[in-house]
C-alpha cells in the first residue's frame, strides 16, 4: 500500500488552491526558518562559558520592532488577497449552471438532478461543466466536503446554501460530511463520480426518475387545500383565489422578491419567509389581505414543508405581470 502524501486534484480550481497553499507555505517558512536558525545559533554561540562578546546597549529598538511587525504582515497580506480572490470565485457561480438539489439528513445525502434522477450517497456530474448544488438539511447541520475539488460547504436546516464547481477530470472521488452531525457522522459519505458529458447523459437516461421535490410539493399543495385559496396551481390561476370565496395572494414568482406587508414593511420572500408564512401566517401578513390563512404548524412534517417551499419557489410569475 502506498502512503498518500497529497490529495488528487479533480479540477483546475483545485490546482489553483494547491499552488496557493504551496506558495504561502513557502513564504511562511521563509519567515519562520530564520527565526529558528537564529535561536539555535544564539543558543550555541552565547551559551554560558563561550567566548562570545556579550551585553552592549540595544540600538534602534523601535526601528527593529517596526520592521518585524510590518514586513511579514505586508508580505502575508498578498496571500490574504489571493485566498480571498479564490474564495470569491468559489462563492459566485457563473450563469448557466447545471443545478442539482442535495438534501442532507442523518446520515445520508440525497441528490436529485434536474430531470428527476435521484441518487443516495453518490453524486454523478458531467466533467467540464459548471455544476451548482443547492443544498439543505432536514435535521442538523451537515457539511458537504469534496476533497479532490478542495471544496466544502455547510448544509443547514431551514435554508438553502449553494456550492458550485466545475470538475475537469473524470474519475471517482470522495464525498464526505465534515460537520459533526451525530452518531454516524463518519459514515455519511460516498462518491463523487465525474463522467465525461456523454457518460453523464447515458447515466441520466438509465437512472430511475423520481418526482422532483417541487412536483411532490405541487401534489401536497392540492391535497392540503392550499390551492383552495391560492388557486389550483399557486400562480397559475387567477391571482384572486381561483373561484374560492377567500382572497389569497398569488404565489407565482414571489420567491426571492420583496413582499409588501400589512404593517407597512417589506420582506424578501426567501425560504425562511415561505416557511414562516406556512407555519405562522399571521406573523407577517401580506399587504391588502386578511389574516385568514390557517396555521399549518404541527400538521406538516419537515420533509413536506421542504416540498411545499420547493414548489412555491419553482412557480413562475403569472403571465402579464411585471415582477
Amino acid at each position: 500500500m502506498s502512503i498518500p502524501l497529497w490529495p488528487r486534484a479533480a479540477s483546475f480550481y483545485a490546482d489553483r488552491i494547491d499552488l496557493l497553499v504551496v506558495s504561502f507555505s513557502a513564504l511562511l517558512l521563509c519567515l519562520a526558518v530564520p527565526v529558528f536558525v537564529a535561536i539555535l545559533w544564539f543558543a550555541v554561540k552565547y551559551r554560558r562559558g563561550s567566548p562570545a562578546e556579550r551585553g552592549g546597549p540595544v540600538k534602534r529598538e523601535a526601528g527593529i520592532e517596526a520592521a518585524w511587525m510590518a514586513i511579514p504582515f505586508l508580505l502575508s497580506l498578498g496571500f490574504w488577497f489571493w485566498a480571498a480572490e479564490l474564495f470569491f470565485v468559489r462563492s459566485t457561480p457563473p450563469p448557466g449552471t447545471l443545478d442539482i438539489t442535495v438534501v442532507g439528513k442523518q446520515w445520508m445525502w440525497k441528490a436529485q438532478h434536474p430531470g428527476g434522477q435521484s441518487e443516495i450517497d453518490t453524486l454523478h456530474v458531467p466533467a467540464g461543466q459548471p455544476v451548482r448544488l443547492r443544498m439543505t438539511s432536514q435535521d442538523v447541520i451537515h457539511s458537504l466536503f469534496l476533497p479532490e475539488l478542495r471544496l466544502k460547504q455547510d448544509v443547514l436546516p431551514g435554508r438553502t446554501t449553494e456550492l458550485w464547481f466545475q470538475a475537469d477530470r473524470p474519475g471517482t472521488y470522495a464525498l464526505r460530511c465534515t460537520q459533526f452531525c451525530g452518531t454516524d457522522h463518519a459514515t455519511m459519505g460516498g462518491e463523487l463520480v465525474v463522467l465525461p458529458p456523454t457518460g453523464y447523459a447515458d447515466w441520466l437516461s438509465t437512472s430511475a426518475v423520481e418526482p422532483t421535490l417541487a412536483q411532490e410539493g405541487a401534489a401536497l399543495f392540492r391535497r392540503l387545500g392550499c390551492s383552495g385559496c391560492h388557486g389550483s396551481s399557486g400562480g397559475g390561476g387567477a391571482g384572486g383565489g381561483g373561484g374560492s370565496a377567500v382572497r389569497a395572494p398569488d404565489l407565482g414568482g414571489i420567491y426571492r422578491l420583496p413582499q409588501p406587508l400589512a404593517d407597512g414593511g417589506t420582506v424578501i420572500a426567501d425560504e425562511r419567509y415561505l416557511r414562516d408564512s406556512i407555519l405562522d401566517p399571521v406573523a407577517q401578513v401580506v399587504a391588502g389581505y386578511e389574516p385568514v390563512m390557517p396555521s399549518f404548524a404541527g400538521k406538516l412534517e419537515e420533509a413536506d414543508l421542504m416540498r411545499l417551499v420547493a414548489y412555491i419557489a419553482s412557480l413562475k410569475p403569472p403571465s402579464g405581470t411585471t415582477p
Binding site: W68, F73, F79, F180
Partner: protein, 553 residues
C-alpha cells in the same frame, strides 16, 4: 517539607504584626487547614492537585480516541462511545484543564509575590473560585461518564438542542458554573494588579508574566459571560422548547456559532497569553538578560486580547456566513498574528548576546517556541479563505489547535512547573530526567500531531471514528506519538513528587532570576514579605537579583 508546627493559622489579616517566617506549607497540615485556606499559595496548590486530576481524565478520552483511530474500522469503540470520548476529552481539557491551568496555579501563586503583595485582593473569593471550579468539574465529569454527551465540546445547534441524546443540559450546566470560577479569578487578578503593587512597582516594572495575566483576566471577565449566555439559550431551547436556534421553531442555527466563537476564540488566548508570559520569564532568566523590547512585548499582550475579540468569524467561513464578512474576518485574523509574532521575534532577540544556561525550564521554553510558531503559521493558512474551505473541519484544524494549545500552552505549563517548582516546594528535581522529558515531549508531540496536518489536507474529517484504509499509516504514527507523549507527561509526575522528599533543598533564588518572588525564601512564608519591598529598579535588570543570588547548586 518541614513539620514543625500544628498551628492551623490560615487567615491573612489578623496577626500580621508579628511576621511568621515559617513557610506557607507549614501553616497547618490538616485537610481542613488546606480546604479552608485563603492563602493564595495554598489555593494555588489546591488548583494544582485538582487540575492534574482533570488533566488525567481528559487524557483518558484522548487515549481512547487515539486507540480507536489506530485502525480504519470501528473496532475498539462503538460510534456512540467514540463520540462521547472525544466530547469528554474536549470539554474536560478546555474548561477544566487549559483555561484554569497557568492562571489558577501559577498566576495565583505568583502574582502577589511578583508585585510585592501579601495576597490577592480578595482571598476568600479566590477560595470560592476553587470550590466552584472543583464542584462544577466533578459534576461535569459524572455527567460525561455516567450519562454521556456526544455533541463535541462545541455544542453546535440544532444538534445539541434537538437531536443529541445524552445529558447535554447537565453538561452545559457544569460548564456554565465553571465559568463563574473564571470570572471571579479574572476579577481578582485585575483588582490585585491595579491596587496592590508595592511602592515603586510601576506598570512598566511589572514582569511580563503579570502583564499577560492582566490581559488574560480581561478576556476571562469579558468573554466568559457570552459563553454563559449561549449555554443558557441551549438550555432554553432543549429544556423548554423556546425557539432560538432550530429553524423548525423559528430559530437560527448560526446564531449559536456566533455566540460560541465570540467566547471560544478569545478562550484560545486565555490559554496562550499566560503561556507567553511564562516563556518570557524563562527566556529572560536563562539568557541572563532583560527581555528585548519590554514595552512591545507588554503591549502585544493587550493587543492580542483586544484583537482576539474581533476574529470569531474565521471559524465560520463555510457555514453560510456572508462572503464579505468572511473577507473582513480573514483580514483581522492575519492582523492578530502580528502581536504574536512580535513576541517570538523579541524572544529570539533576547537570546542575542546573552549568556545562556541550558536548564530544563529553558528547554521547555524553547520547545514552546518551536511548537507554537508552527501552530501559528498553520493558523495563517487556516485564516486564508480559500484554503480554509478545504482544511476546515479536517484533522488539519485539529493539528493546528493542538500545536497552539498543547504544544504551546501545555508545554509552557510544564515549563512553569519546572521553573517555579523550587520556589513552590523548596526542592530541586533531577535535571537530567527533566531534560529527558522535554526531549520526549518534543518528539512525541510532533509525531502525534504532524501526521494530522497531512491527513487533514488529504481530506480526513475530524470527529470520524472510521476512515478510508489508505489513511492508516498516518493514523498509526499519530497513535504511536501519543504513546510517547503520554510517557513524557508521566515522567514529571514521578520525579517531581519524588523531589518533595528526596530532592536537594533550593535556596531563595536557585536560578539567579529576577523578580520579587525570588527575594523571599523557598517556600515563601505565609504572608510573603516580612517588609513590603520598595522597588527602585527596572524589571529584569541585574539590580533585581543583586542581593539574592544563591550559590548555584
Amino acid at each position: 517539607m518541614t513539620a514543625t508546627s500544628t498551628d492551623p493559622g490560615t487567615g491573612t489579616g489578623a496577626a500580621r504584626a508579628a511576621f511568621d517566617p515559617r513557610p506557607y506549607t507549614a501553616a497547618g497540615h490538616t485537610l481542613r487547614s488546606w480546604l479552608t485556606t485563603t492563602d493564595h499559595k495554598r489555593v494555588a496548590i489546591l488548583y494544582l492537585i485538582a487540575i492534574t486530576g482533570f488533566f488525567a481524565l481528559g487524557a483518558v478520552g484522548a487515549v481512547l480516541v487515539r486507540l480507536e483511530l489506530a485502525t480504519p474500522r470501528p473496532d475498539l469503540l462503538s460510534a456512540e462511545t467514540y463520540n462521547r470520548a472525544f466530547t469528554m476529552h474536549g470539554i474536560v481539557m478546555v474548561w477544566f484543564f487549559l483555561i484554569p491551568s497557568i492562571p489558577n496555579v501559577f498566576g495565583n501563586f505568583l502574582i502577589p509575590l511578583m508585585i510585592g503583595a501579601r495576597d490577592l485582593a480578595f482571598p476568600r473569593l479566590n477560595l470560592l473560585s476553587w470550590y466552584i471550579y472543583v464542584l462544577a468539574g466533578l459534576f461535569t465529569i459524572v455527567t460525561l461518564v455516567k450519562g454521556g454527551v456526544d455533541t463535541g465540546w462545541t455544542f453546535y445547534t440544532p444538534l445539541s438542542t434537538q437531536f443529541a441524546n445524552g445529558h447535554v443540559l447537565l453538561a452545559a450546566a457544569g460548564v456554565f458554573t465553571a465559568g463563574f470560577s473564571s470570572i471571579l479569578t479574572g476579577l481578582n487578578f485585575i483588582v490585585t494588579i491595579h491596587t496592590m503593587r508595592a511602592p515603586g512597582m510601576t506598570w512598566f516594572r511589572l514582569p511580563i508574566f503579570v502583564w499577560s495575566h492582566y490581559a488574560t483576566s480581561i478576556l476571562l471577565v469579558l468573554a466568559t459571560p457570552v459563553l454563559a449566555m449561549a449555554l443558557i439559550l441551549i438550555v432554553a431551547e432543549r429544556g423548554f422548547g423556546v425557539g432560538i436556534f432550530d429553524p423548525r421553531l423559528g430559530g437560527d442555527p448560526l446564531l449559536f456559532q456566533h455566540l460560541f466563537w465570540f467566547y471560544s476564540h478569545p478562550a484560545v488566548y486565555i490559554m496562550v497569553l499566560p503561556a507567553m508570559g511564562v516563556v518570557t520569564e524563562l527566556i529572560s532568566t536563562f539568557a541572563g538578560r532583560a527581555v528585548f523590547g519590554y514595552r512591545f512585548v507588554a503591549y502585544a499582550s493587550l493587543a492580542i486580547a483586544a484583537l482576539g475579540f474581533l476574529v470569531w468569524g474565521h471559524h465560520m467561513f463555510v457555514s453560510g456566513q456572508s462572503m464579505y464578512a468572511s473577507v473582513v474576518f480573514s483580514f483581522l485574523s492575519f492582523l492578530v498574528a502580528v502581536p504574536s509574532a512580535v513576541k517570538v521575534y523579541n524572544w529570539a532577540a533576547t537570546l542575542y548576546r546573552a549568556e545562556i544556561r541550558f536548564t530544563a525550564p529553558l528547554l521547555y521554553g524553547l520547545s514552546f517556541i518551536g511548537l507554537f510558531v508552527f501552530g501559528g503559521l498553520t493558523g495563517l493558512i487556516l485564516a486564508s479563505l480559500a484554503l480554509d474551505v478545504h482544511a476546515h473541519d479536517t484533522t488539519f484544524v485539529v493539528a493546528h489547535f493542538h500545536y497552539i494549545m498543547v504544544g504551546g500552552a501545555v508545554t509552557a505549563y510544564l515549563g512553569a512547573m519546572h521553573f517555579w517548582w523550587p520556589k513552590i516546594t523548596g526542592r530541586l528535581y533531577p535535571d537530567a530526567l527533566a531534560k529527558l522529558s522535554v526531549l520526549l515531549l518534543y518528539v512525541g508531540f510532533n509525531l502525534t500531531f504532524f501526521p494530522q496536518y497531512i491527513l487533514g489536507w488529504l481530506g480526513m474529517p475530524r470527529r470520524y471514528h472510521e476512515y478510508p484504509a489508505e489513511f492508516q499509516v498516518w493514523h498509526l504514527l499519530s497513535t504511536a506519538g501519543a504513546g510517547l507523549l503520554a510517557f513524557a507527561y508521566l515522567l514529571p509526575l514521578v520525579y517531581l513528587p519524588w523531589s518533595l522528599r528526596w530532592g536537594q533543598r533550593a535556596g531563595p533564588n536557585p536560578w539567579g532570576a529576577t523578580g520579587l518572588e525570588w527575594r523571599v525564601p523557598s517556600p515563601p512564608p505565609t504572608h510573603n514579605f516580612d517588609r513590603i519591598p520598595t522597588v527602585t529598579w527596572e524589571a529584569y535588570t541585574p539590580e533585581a537579583t543583586a542581593e539574592t543570588k544563591d550559590t548555584p547548586p
